[in-house]
Amino acid sequence: MNSLKNITVAFALAGMLTTSLGLKAQIGKNGNETFSLGVHFSGRSIFRNPQPAGSSIDFMNYLGDGKPVQTCGLINLVFGMNPVPGWTISTTLSINSSMAPGQMQISVMNLPGDTLQGWHLGWKTSLVMFPRYLNEFNRFHIERDSLLFADLNHNYRQRLLYDACLSVMPVAAFRGEKISLRVAAGPGIAVFMPFSERIEQKKPDGNFRRTITYETEASPAAVLAAETEVYISLFRVRHTEGGLLLRAGSLLSYRQIRYRETVRTWTAENAETRRVSPGRQFSSLTEAGGGFYVNF
């Protein structure tokens, strides 16, 4: 729930930021402000290298449907603006099959001289936050604690786990008559938003009860981010330009979810806590898609 609140706050801040800058752009003196709107569909593939179950739970093994590769489709709405020449601020809201704008990306790019044709160099800072489903992590206990009622909570154990990544990338851009190209790649840092979960157990034909509480940590990990954007201009009317937008991006990292595990047996006072740091799993996110854009 806290993660959801953070997302909401971030969206609100993004909205306030873009709104205030937008107002500033509208009252600017140089008259060079441009805005862009875009919509595109993309396919996303998330790969991770699952690890064999050990004596402690590894939440990474329960991301998605438990398979090494997960795929999904997204509808992306892009709003961007250039408040001053060379600077671009853009926000992307992505909607998945649940039709909830659960993912966002905010980026700030500095590309001096990008209104001129030819090659340009600059940099880009990007913050992306997207949800990942953590499904049926209680299977670990059902398999390990077979002599107990391994989970007294019979609901489908699913929660949203937000993954946030901040990256800083050098950008190489080419602006032609009909085609513009941007390529960026660079390092970043990714964290999973912390969460807590509890498993309640009881012995059949016995009074024995215990609870296992997991409180995860942000577990930061180094990330290699890369993205490519291609704009193909199809029409230009006065100051309005529109066309096709092609986008592809990737995030590569070794991820883990560290946590504190507290086992309470019989009573709350009888507790033992330990920190668990599962091994890092290679994880990659690849996304590619295309759509339309309008600059005005």
């Binding site: 034909d205 016995g206 009074n207 024995f208 709350a268």
Partner: protein, 210 residues
């Protein structure tokens, strides 16, 4: 326009009147009562949750009881009386304005002593004080879900407690060690703050050895 405003005023006043009349001031003054009786019932704790049972058979690791303290003229007593004397529909009782009646005991349970009639294992012999071998749960008191509390902490929650709709203090007791013999029976004594002691015995439990 004027007609519309008048109509709106009438509708608002009508609804406001409804809101005022639907509000009800409940009398929060507690009705005092005294714990005079104790009842001990068996719990079936073989499954995921404990339920009251009339069976005297229990698993050696699932010995559990429910202890209830109540005023002999409390609702607990009335319920038993109605069932015995009035066939057919039982008497319907409604609280005015849907107010729950707050009850407060004149004395509260201060401590509990549990003694065993039979040996539990080689180290716990017949007649021993086995209070420390039990953990407890109290209905209606905040606790970490799924876990038990110590017997002392459950009874400490009963001090100055306000009971709504029923002046019954119910505590579930769960034995921690496994019973190694084939029978079990306990005497449960609750000492109240006014010095009185309410005692009750469990049934003789047949331990189903596995």
């Amino acid at each position: 326009m004027r007609t519309f405003r008048k109509l709106l005023t009438v509708i608002i006043l009508f609804n406001a009147a409804r809101i005022f009349t639907s509000c009800c001031e409940c009398d929060e003054t507690p009705v005092r009562f005294t714990f005079r009786s104790i009842d001990v019932r068996n719990l079936d704790n073989k499954g995921e949750w404990a339920i009251v049972t009339a069976s005297n058979n229990m698993a050696p690791e699932a010995v559990a009881f429910e202890v209830s303290l109540f005023d002999s003229t409390g609702y607990f007593g009335y319920a038993a009386l109605q069932k015995a004397l009035l066939p057919g529909f039982s008497k319907a009782m409604a609280f005015r304005c849907d107010c729950s009646i707050p009850f407060q005991a004149t004395s509260y349970p201060e401590s509990i002593v549990i003694k065993t009639f039979f040996a539990i294992n080689d180290t716990i012999q017949a007649g021993a004080d086995v209070t420390g071998c039990f953990v407890a749960r109290s209905s209606g008191n905040g606790t970490i879900s799924g876990l038990y509390q110590s017997v002392e902490s459950v009874f400490s929650l009963a001090r100055d407690k306000i009971y709504y709709d029923s002046g019954v203090e119910t505590v579930q007791l769960f034995l921690m060690p496994e019973i190694k013999t084939d029978k079990a029976k306990f005497e449960i004594s609750v000492r109240l703050s006014d010095g009185r002691i309410l005692s009750g015995n469990t049934q003789t439990i047949n331990i189903r050895q596995q």
